[in-house]
């Protein structure tokens, strides 16, 4: 019995393609406490998305395992809802139907029809998208699509919420709005969150803990930084907060001094 709610235990992943074996992740050990917001940051190609897929169960680990709430998990399930980078809404369903599909599947037997409808609307309200419930994904903006993606994931009442660079494809202003929304939701619901990002400010602003990955191949956890900033956090006040600046600098130093991404230069 570990004290961690989510535990990645000596996780390794090797891919074999056309006889060539490449090691993507080596010996990842990570513990996340219940209600914690943990970000994983690293240069592109360092295997951070692979790491999230391992936790989600979409990819199988080569060695090691993932333990959630004292149970090993190795196949996908709604207890580890994923918000995908490109939102992955089903384009032939309306905003409401996209969320309702998840609600019906997860609570089909536990909740009445009326309760499932209310739960769907409640989650759309959380992300301020109830007004667009009858629109199709093609009719709303990228930021709105991502809001719906978050509503769909939240509606599954996951034990841990997995975010795969959720705001990577959005413009800076929309991204800031969504980050604020996400902070609000996290403050109210106290979800356990694991987020992949390549944005230093985003990681520091949102996280309790930042996991910094070394470059691949055979990437591993280089450093873990605890962000001790009090919540609720205000974007504007933090800009001049010494603790915030120090945390930001620590991450930047790790990424650009000790583990420079050579190919990106």
């Amino acid at each position: 019995m570990s004290r961690f709610y989510l535990k990645l235990d000596r996780l390794s992943k090797t891919f074999t393609r056309r006889g060539v074996t490449s090691e993507v992740l080596r010996d990842i050990d990570l513990g996340v406490e219940k209600g914690q917001f943990v970000s994983i940051i690293g240069h592109s190609g360092c295997g951070k998305s692979t790491m999230l897929n391992l936790v989600a169960g979409l990819t199988q680990a080569s060695t090691g395992g993932v333990i959630l709430d004292d149970r090993e998990v190795n196949s996908p399930g709604p207890d580890r809802a994923v918000v995908f980078q490109n939102h992955s809404l089903l384009p032939w369903l309306t905003v409401y139907a996209n969320v309702r599909l998840a609600v019906d599947k997860v609570f089909g037997s536990a909740k009445s029809r009326q309760a499932r409808h209310e739960w769907t609307m409640h989650n759309l309200d959380l992300v301020h998208m109830a007004h667009a419930k009858d629109k199709h994904p093609s009719e709303i903006s990228g930021g709105m699509k991502q809001r719906v993606g978050i509503a769909r994931a939240l509606a599954m009442e996951p034990k841990v919420l997995l975010l795969d660079e959720p705001f990577g494809a959005l413009d800076a202003l929309t991204r800031a709005h969504l980050q604020d929304s996400l902070m609000q939701i996290h403050a109210n619901l106290r979800n356990t969150v694991l987020m992949i990002t390549h944005d230093v400010d985003e990681a520091v602003l949102l996280s309790d803990k930042i996991v910094m990955m070394t470059n691949g191949p055979a990437a591993h956890i280089g450093e873990v930084l605890t962000v001790a900033l009090p919540r609720p956090r205000q974007r504007l006040e933090l800009a001049t907060d010494p603790a915030y600046i120090a945390a930001r600098e620590a991450v930047l130093k790790f990424l650009y001094q000790r583990h420079r991404f050579v190919e990106a230069a």
Binding site: P76, P78, A81, V82, L93, P137, S138
Partner: protein, 303 residues
């Protein structure tokens, strides 16, 4: 045309604004209604002119050339005027019924359509199911695709002797020929559509733990709908090709048999009329399936 449309476009908002400000008199309402009616008629007129005039001109020109080429005495094919004189009843009355083989072409087309509906409907259901199975497995795709690519090039008529030998009856043979001709594009396109379902949708299904049945109904069919309807559209075209060939040999009351019968009794004018019927019905079938496809998959392609 353009000028009229511009004028009424400009006048309507002004009219509406005025009506909103003052207490609405009957005359104002009537004027607004008339204005919008005029505008709608203008737009419809414009649409008709741009879309109907070019084909009409083409048809008239074609008929003229045909008339000139075939009008001289001793010509082997009848000119349009002769067809009109000989087969006027067939053209003007699709649904007369004077006895077993003396019926309007409308009835014959309906009989043929019934056969196509059965054969093609069966091909659609079986084709989509087989295509779905094949699309999900690399092995099945690699193994079966070459076989399908060869079989799909076999002409409809070539299947007929085999079908007659197998079923020993003309009616199921005709259905089989339609089925086997139209099924290949449906299978192949469905399989390609299933293979092209984005990994994202599969991931969503995996996280939600959709079972096979739910995955088929909620993800596969809608995601592959544009491909499936491409296959169905090619399929219905081939089915309509096959029906005529099959009916020529199996007999009955279909439009295909009518052509064969007309040829045997040297009614060339009737054959020409039947050809036009077949063309128009084929065109309508293609548009019908295409239209259904556009409606069903209107939200799938965009994202």
């Amino acid at each position: 045309m353009g000028f009229i449309s511009f004028q009424s476009d400009a006048a309507t908002p002004h009219q509406t604004a005025a009506a909103a400000k003052e207490p609405r008199g009957i005359s104002t309402i009537l004027a607004t209604a008339r204005q919008s009616l005029v505008r709608r008629l203008t737009l419809t007129g414009q649409w008709l002119v741009t879309n109907m005039v070019p084909p009409l001109v083409t048809i008239v020109l074609l008929l003229l050339v045909w008339q000139i080429l075939c009008a001289k005495p001793g010509s082997s094919l009848p000119p349009p005027t002769a067809i009109w004189n000989d087969s006027r009843d067939l053209i003007l009355q699709p649904f007369f019924d004077y006895g077993s083989q003396d019926i309007g072409l409308g009835w014959r087309v309906l009989t043929s359509l019934q056969r196509v509906a059965t054969g093609f409907g069966l091909a659609a259901v079986v084709g989509i199911l087989i295509g779905t199975l094949i699309g999900q497995s690399d092995w099945a795709m690699r193994g079966l695709d070459p076989v399908f690519q060869v079989l799909r090039t076999v002409p409809p008529l070539a299947w007929l002797p085999i079908a007659l030998a197998a079923f020993r009856d003309s009616r199921p043979s005709a259905l089989f020929v339609i089925f086997i001709t139209s099924i290949w594009p449906i299978i192949i396109n469905t399989a390609v559509g299933i293979r092209n379902i984005p990994q994202d949708y599969r991931n969503v299904a995996a996280v939600l733990r959709l079972n096979h049945f739910e995955f088929f109904w909620k993800i596969m069919l809608p995601a592959a709908a544009p491909y499936i309807f491409t296959g169905l559209r090619i399929g219905i075209g081939l089915a309509w090709l096959a029906i005529v060939a099959a009916e020529m040999l199996t007999g009955g009351v279909g439009i295909g048999f009518f052509i064969w019968d007309a040829w045997n009794s040297s009614r060339i004018a009737d054959i020409v009329v039947a050809l036009i019927y077949i063309g128009l019905v084929g065109f309508a079938l293609d548009r019908l399936v295409g239209g259904i496809g556009a409606v069903v998959s209107r939200n799938t392609a965009k994202n």
